[in-house]
Subunit: 270 residues, 2 copies
C-alpha cells in the first residue's frame, strides 16, 4: 500500500456512525501551541469537500480559531445550510469533547466563463531556483519543515535583524515532498506567513491568527496545471493597534495567475 | 417621543419570548432585490451587540448572503460559541419561515494598548466640501438616498462613461441625516461600494455580494471622536473571473485613521 503524503495524513478524516467525522492531530503539523492553523483550515475545507452532497468547488472560506486544539482526537461536523442553483453555503465545526475549537463557513459554487481580468499586478521577483534552499528548520514550529520556503523579502527575523518600516514578505513556497496544489493545499498555504508584527519589529512574541478568510480564484483546471510547483506568496499588514493587526496576502502561480487572495486578523502582544 | 433615525429603524430588533429576535425589512433600505446588504450585516452585528452576555467590542465580522430576504418579518438568532478571557466568538443567523437567509460569524474582544502603527498609506484626496453634493438618487436602489456620497474617482457608470482599466473607487460618505458612526453604522458603510465590475466595464448588470468580511480597527473612543463626519472609502477589485470577483476596501476618518478594512466576494454576470 502506498504511503499517504504527510499533508493527506494531516487532513485525514474518518466517517463515524453518527454522521460526524473524526480526525487526529499529527505531530508533523505542530505549531507552538496546537497544530498549524493552515492544516486545521485545510481539514475543515476537506470535511466539506468530502460530503456526498457537496456541490461545485470552493469559492470562499472563513475560519475562526476559538481555542487551541489539544493533541489527540477531534470531531468535525459539516452542514449545508442552503443549496442554490449555482452555489452552496456551509457551516463546519471542529470540536473536542463537545467544545468547539474552530469554526468555518464556506461557499462552494459552479464557475462559468465570463469576462475576466486580474487587476492586481504580479510582483517582479527572481525565480525560486535563484534563491537559496532553506536550511534545516529551526525547530520552533515543526510544521515549517513540510514546506520549501524561499524568502525574497521580509524574512522571519534573525538575531541580527532590526525593525523594518514594512511588513511585506514575498516568498516562494511549495510542499517539500511534492504534493500538488488542490484547494485543501492552497488553504493551508494561505496561512503560511509568520506574523507581520515579527517582520516590523524584528521580535518574536505571542501572536496568533483569530480569523482567516480566503477567496479562491483558481478553478480546478488552473490549479491542476500548477501541479506541485512553487507558488509566490506576498503578505503585508495594514494596521497594527490595540493588540490586533490585519494581514492581506496573495498566492500567485509562477506563470502569474492569482490563485487566491486571503486576509487574516491576528492578535499579538508587544 | 423622539423619532428614531432611519438607520436605527433599519436595524431595529425586538426580543421575543423564545429568545430569538424579530426584525422587519424597511422599504427605506431596499436594494434591487431585498434589502441593502450593509443594513442586513449591520442588523446581524447589532443582534450580537445587544445580547446581554456580549463581551468587548467587535474585532471581525463575516457575513454570508445565502438567499434574498423577502419583504416583511425575519428572525435573528445569535449564539456565543466560546467566551475566552479577552475575546468571544459568535454565530448569528437571519431566517424567514425557518430558512436561513444570511449568516454571520463574529469575534468580539477587549482591546488593550500595544505598539501600534498604520502601515497602509491614506490617499491624498480633496476634502468633501470641495466636491459636488450628490443629486437626487437615481432611484435604482432606494438605500443610496440614506447616504451623502461624494465620489472622487471611479463613479457609478453613467451613459457617457467608457470602460476603465482600474476598478478603484474613492469616495467620501456620511449618513445624509447625521447619524454617528458606531460599529453597526461602520458595518453598513463597508458594503457601500457598487460592484467593481460596473466601474471596469461601465455597464451595470446582475451582481451581488455573497460574502463580506470586516476587520474593525477603530476602538470605541476613536469611533466616537469621528462623530457623524464624512469617511473616506477606497475600494478595488483584485481578480475578476468565472463569474466572481473579490473586492478589498478601506474606510478612513478625515484625520487619517484607518477605521476598518473590508473584503468581499461578489458574483457577477458579464
Amino acid at each position: 500500500m502506498a504511503e499517504q503524503h504527510p499533508f493527506d495524513v494531516g487532513i485525514a478524516l474518518e466517517h463515524s456512525d453518527d454522521g460526524t467525522l473524526r480526525g487526529r492531530t499529527d505531530p508533523g503539523w505542530n505549531n507552538m501551541v496546537g497544530p498549524f492553523g493552515g492544516i486545521t483550515a485545510a481539514t475543515l475545507l476537506h470535511a466539506i469537500e468530502s460530503q456526498p452532497d457537496a456541490h461545485g468547488a470552493p469559492l470562499t472560506l472563513t475560519v475562526n480559531f476559538l481555542a487551541p486544539i489539544a493533541d489527540g482526537e477531534f470531531q468535525v461536523s459539516a452542514r449545508a445550510l442552503r443549496t442554490n442553483r449555482t452555489n452552496q453555503h456551509w457551516y463546519a465545526e471542529l470540536s473536542q469533547d463537545g467544545a468547539p475549537k474552530t469554526t468555518a463557513t464556506a461557499i462552494f459554487g459552479i464557475r462559468r466563463e465570463t469576462w475576466s481580468d486580474t487587476e492586481l499586478i504580479a510582483p517582479d521577483v527572481p525565480v525560486p531556483e535563484d534563491l537559496p534552499e532553506p536550511g534545516t528548520p529551526r525547530g520552533v514550529a515543526v510544521w515549517i519543515g513540510n514546506y520549501d520556503m524561499r524568502v525574497i523579502e521580509g524574512p522571519y527575523p534573525g538575531p541580527d535583524d532590526g525593525p523594518s518600516p514594512s511588513s511585506l514578505t514575498k516568498l516562494w513556497v511549495r510542499d517539500r515532498r511534492g504534493r500538488t496544489h488542490d484547494y485543501a493545499a492552497l488553504t493551508a498555504l494561505c496561512d503560511i506567513f509568520y506574523p507581520r508584527s515579527y517582520v516590523r519589529r524584528a521580535q518574536v512574541g505571542p501572536a496568533g491568527t483569530i480569523s482567516m478568510t480566503i477567496y479562491f480564484h483558481a478553478d480546478s483546471a488552473e490549479l491542476q496545471s500548477v501541479g506541485d510547483d512553487f507558488l509566490l506568496g506576498c503578505a503585508r499588514g495594514n494596521r497594527f493597534s490595540n493588540g490586533y493587526f490585519d494581514q492581506s496576502a496573495e498566492l500567485w502561480s509562477r506563470s502569474g495567475a492569482l490563485l487566491a487572495t486571503t486576509h487574516q486578523l491576528v492578535y499579538f502582544k508587544a
